[in-house]
Symmetry: none
Subunit: 205 residues, 4 copies
DNA sequence: TTATAAACGAGACGGTACGTCTTGTCTTATG
DNA sequence: CATAAGACAAGACGTACCGTCTCGTTTATAA
């Protein structure tokens, strides 16, 4: 069996040399990932391409999961990030397109899939994945605050589920039309839920 | 890079010895997969646990993808398979629960995720995944035939997407309640689509 | 710290392929040792030069000590091995020259020194060294049997000590003349010891 | 291969701070050496234990050989150093015991063995070893001057050889009794040599 | 019932990768 | 500005797994 990696302090990002090295490795990793896949992205290959020692890569990311996570978090520039608003349809559509754009980057998609695949057996990955989802949901809720809407777990899954399924499993483009269908569906759900709670409230009065 | 695997004839399943060996390895693989994860399921480990030579495993499955695929296809007994019917809600619910049950088996889930993760870089996996999805959709359409309903790509994704997202990404139980919500949503979608095509037809007349 | 090496079966010498591989590696090691020294004789270098994988070298010798020991034991051909006889001087001289010849081979000398140096901290090396010495002493005693002489620890050290010191520490040739001086000395010691035991016996009568 | 070490000025011993640092490192090295062996005594470990930067150790001893040599030369306190005298037996015995005492210290023994083992491939070590031996011989000759005796190479090796062999190779205690036997032997040799030269002189006249 | 073909066990081998360690140099920040 | 902390390149270590290749042995089918 492989021994558990020793916990070791990671290089201080304040150091400009460290920043340079880290940035170069991340860039190469982003290039390489779609080419060779997450399992093919070995420290050996990464180090060679980045013209860096394996040891250096280990110093920055003690495990592949850590590297993949950073790749997801510091994804490529996604263009305009959606802004809060009171029109639920507009906000939800903007958020969903932003999700789609982020996840359409091949490197990011690879990384997400790899982390997801490891989540069952690697608690680090599981935690990272969970945090990722929670952050996205929190972001959506912030955007929807002006509209006085708060999405719960089920509603959230119903919104992003179809889009990610299309991207990751169907492995096809997520068109604007598809996004519109999903959002339309989802608004109907919210309406029903609102009506239910209203009728519930009415019945309770 | 590793050298290209030589194409080699796989053992004939007609031979009872072959069947025994194959069955034992598959069983062990199913046990092991949730424990160690898809990448941890090495030929070496598998062979050792199954008390078989590595060579033997290679003879049966020339690549890990092939093994994983077999694991998915010959999943554990799923209980009653849904039957065709004219009530769309009933049929869709049954199908969705069957999907949930199949994918809830840890070994199967692991295998599906692994295949999905490799699909970007391994055309074999991509093909296998595509076929898997198509088969499921075809099965659903067969079930819905009596109801006179045929689901297209988008509708299909909207049906299974939330369930798989809940299972694979949220990594939580898919409750019957959640299934009901998804189906209710989905029926509304079908209605809208039907109305649209009807009005379309009316306008066209 | 590195984890303790796993105990693993070494290749069966009955296999001719194994013999070939082993012989080639040993030959290369013998060549390399005097060039680069015991610490410079890395598994990496050895494997490269022998055109063999590092893993193969590990399979044959799980530790450097094991390899060095084999190098000592299967030294180069030493020429005629001394024969037993009743003339103590002749036998002792022949044995000592044989020791000298064996230890004069640069590779063997390097190996002996390395094993000796590690004996303090590596019980394997210590044991090997001890066995080496004991074997040599036993061999000498066999040769001297016809002469009715048995050498004890102190006597043995007095015989081989000066020769090894000259070789390993003075790092100079051991001439036949030097061997003769040592043997002459040593015979005087035996005489004295014999006289002492005789007088002892006489006193006891 | 590693790049050749750059020649760099070593700290001035006149500086008291330098002395303190140097003394602490040496002490730690002396402690560590028997524990971990000469190859295990890495600069990294040494620096860590001495609570000093690796750089600092490098500054003091540009190579391991240099450190080991210093360890040998500045061995632990040997007790009374023998004094010159006219009784050859007394002087030789005292000198031999002093040699034994010095070499019995585990750290020193380790260092001596390491230097010896490297002498074949590292000219620095070879030189250091040679100087060490010469110094010891010179010291003995100084002690023996009052007795009018001068030992040559062969005689010297015959005196110290058995003792070092017992210590380093047999890896056993050198008892006073053993020292006495060696000295007795050795005196007989001197006698014979003296007689030979006398008879030689007589024959030559 | 015995060939004969295939599956299987055993394991050596060349590779690649892993995660760790040490070494010697070089950069950066700090006093 | 001299010195520390420590990042980095280079490379070895011992291990694991991979895919292939013998070579015998066992099992199943066919003659």
């Amino acid at each position: 069996m492989s021994s558990t990696p020793v916990h070791r302090r990671r290089p201080a990002l304040s150091n400009p040399r460290v920043q340079r090295t880290r940035a170069r490795i991340m860039a190469i990793a982003r290039e390489l990932l779609p080419e060779v896949g997450p399992t093919g992205l070995s420290y050996a290959l990464l180090a060679e391409r980045a013209e860096v020692t394996r040891q250096t890569v280990y110093r920055h990311w003690p495990s592949r999961a850590a590297l993949l996570l950073d790749l997801i978090l510091e994804g490529p520039d996604l263009g305009d990030y959606p802004e809060p608003g009171s029109d639920v349809r507009v906000v939800a559509t903007a958020w969903l397109k932003s999700l789609r754009n982020g996840t359409s980057d091949p490197a990011t998609r690879s990384a997400v899939l790899a982390v997801t695949a490891h989540a069952d057996h690697d608690s680090d990955s599981a935690q990272a994945l969970a945090r990722l989802i929670q952050d996205r949901r929190a972001a959506l809720n912030v955007l929807l605050e002006p509209a006085g809407v708060h999405v719960d777990d089920d509603e959230f899954t119903l919104l992003y589920g179809p889009v990610l399924a299309r991207l990751l499993i169907d492995r096809e483009q997520v068109t604007d039309a598809f996004v519109n269908v999903v959002v339309t569906q989802w608004l109907a759900l919210l309406d029903r839920a609102g009506a239910a709670s209203r009728s519930h409230a009415a019945a309770g009065s």
